[in-house]
Symmetry: none
Subunit: 204 residues, 4 copies
DNA sequence: GATGAATGAGATTTCATTCAT
DNA sequence: TATGAATGAAATCTCATTCAT
């Protein structure tokens, strides 16, 4: 057995928790499942985490902060609003591609769990909406986006579309693969920015 | 106490369950909470339902079948595809307006609960996506919709946008009220069909 | 539906209870099972019996009193002790042949249930042993039986042998059929009275 | 409190279960009774056993395998058939003398419980009958035993006699004590092998 | 008598958390 | 750190019995 630093052991437990939560869901997952999956002793989890909740909190916050950071950076850049939304979509899709279990856990067990962790982390989740809304608002002010919907509303629709696509993958309702992932980025942005409708050819 | 038929008593229990599930979430809700809320004895719930699960299954299926019926009818009509999507959005939003607790339970505890009831009812949920995808596909074939995204994909984005808006209301992240509900219908369809972007003025 | 007298209805319930108790055992049998099997309303059982226990008590006592009566009559007769034991064995075996379910219930749920109904009806059960012991004792006094074992002890061995044979049928460990039933009567008495051993031929 | 190995703790729980099952019967015994009797926490029982059933299964199988082993050894020896039966009787009686509660539980809750554990362990129980039947059969072939009854039948009668004697002690219908135990061994074998009857003096 | 809805005590089982070593 | 035995508070579900009609 290779010796591990405390941080590495912590990491091993978190990674095991991701797999277990993804497989069984947070509620059905037992602490012993995580310990077994991590190959550590039952009680050891409690040296690194105060509770089972804290494990999920940690998983969520670590990843969500990265997401917020990414969105902030996109926000600060000077791309077109459509390209900013594309960059955000790309980041989220690539997050899923890179670690689907982790994204599944975060979405299913936190951002969509309105009665438990979702409510607990609501402010954190809302930060993302706010940043996206800022992008939309800036787009409207620059004239690139129409102002027929409120920025906050548009942000929800945009984020909802992405999350549902990820849910489609998680549920195996949508096909997955490198091509599909790339397509999804374009599709989401095309749908939300360009709209489904064909431009009406003006008469004359 | 007014005499009740068996169906009415069943209804009383279902209604109480909606309130309890909405308030505490399915997992945290105890059967005794439901019985208390309904004002009936503990065991009576098991006279009408085989298990706590069956209560949620019943709530979901009853409502979801109504939704499927509504979408089917819209589908069968001869409205413009945009108007069909508007009608569906309207139906869902009005469902929420009419009984927010029930819609909260259905969305939070079933359609978004990928590891428990969501998986169990996946086929039923997918039916809705399929019907919506049919509308998109018909729109594409008639030339009203562009075919830059697959119908299935568009259906997911559209449904995700609606669900996220409802989630916004559930989370109290978006303002609620009659005006907001009506606006939401327009906004969702505007966003998905018309797109966020301003039409680029073609040079000359 | 044919009208029934109260006694007939009572009988219907008792008969149904026999089948249910035989099939599932007293503990696993639900009152509703009995009502269903009898084709009567759930609560009706409580018009005829004070409790589920009382149903089994009734089944046992009715039958056991018949058995005690039969043994008493045999006892009072002037047969050989071996023939008396044969008559008793015959009565019990024929009871099983006539209504195996009832005998199964009485043996399995009462006479062998030392921690529940067996203890409750111990005195009644003991009466049978006493009567049998009387026969053995009389046999010993008349010189027909050796007095190498106490009458009480012999009675237990005799009754135990019969009950185990019935258990063999109940468990399907011994073959059943008219021939087997008749054989069993002889076998039990042969074994207990004659013994398994061949008589040692005295030298000279 | 003295430290205990896992096996010792397991033993403590099993021993407590024996006392509780003997006292109240398996059905009436609550898991909490066992825990209290063992002086351990409620949940610990579930650390060592999967269920309440498994506790009884364990008690039965452990002891019954010892019995089967003992019978097998007797079987393999070259004693007279009568002496073999005596040895088996002796083993069972001594088992009762050594741990009456355990034997009570095994007999009352398993071997005589045709609708629950008896059926479950029927094959195991039957093994004992088969081994005994083998002894009888060998006795018949050697001419020591008459062949007026089938070996299987004789085995049932023999075992039934023993079990009923034990039941007599359990029910307190037969007197107990070292002398009675020794007597019982002789009595059972005398009764089954020698028979109750006095040899008929052949008329010149 | 007849019905079956209503009651609620109780039992098993689970499992997060603690803790002694 | 590391271990896994020990704890005990729930929670679900069952079902005998009662009772209003």
């Amino acid at each position: 057995m290779v010796r591990m630093s405390a941080d590495e052991k912590r990491r091993v437990i978190l990674d095991a928790a991701v797999r277990v939560f993804a497989e069984r869901g947070f509620n059905a997952a037992r602490v012993s499942d995580i310990a077994d999956e991590a190959g550590v002793a039952y009680g050891l989890m409690y040296h690194y985490f105060r509770s089972k909740d804290e494990v999920l909190d940690t998983l969520f916050l670590d990843r969500w902060n990265v997401l917020l950071q990414a969105i902030s950076e996109v926000d600060a850049g000077d791309l077109d609003p459509r390209d900013k939304l594309y960059a955000i979509t790309g980041f989220i899709v690539d997050s899923y591609r890179h670690d689907p279990d982790l994204m599944k856990v975060i979405i299913v067990e936190v951002t969509r769990a309105a009665n438990s962790f979702g409510r607990k982390h609501l402010d954190k989740i809302r930060e993302a909406f706010d940043l996206i809304a800022d992008i939309v608002e800036a787009g409207q002010q620059s004239g690139r986006f129409r102002d027929h919907v409120t920025p906050r509303f548009a942000a929800m629709a945009f984020y909802g579309a992405i999350e549902q696509v990820l849910t489609g993958w998680i549920f195996d309702v949508l096909p997955q693969g490198d091509m599909e992932f790339e397509q999804a980025k374009t599709f989401v942005v095309e749908t939300i920015c360009g709209g489904l409708e064909a431009p009406t050819t003006s008469p004359i």
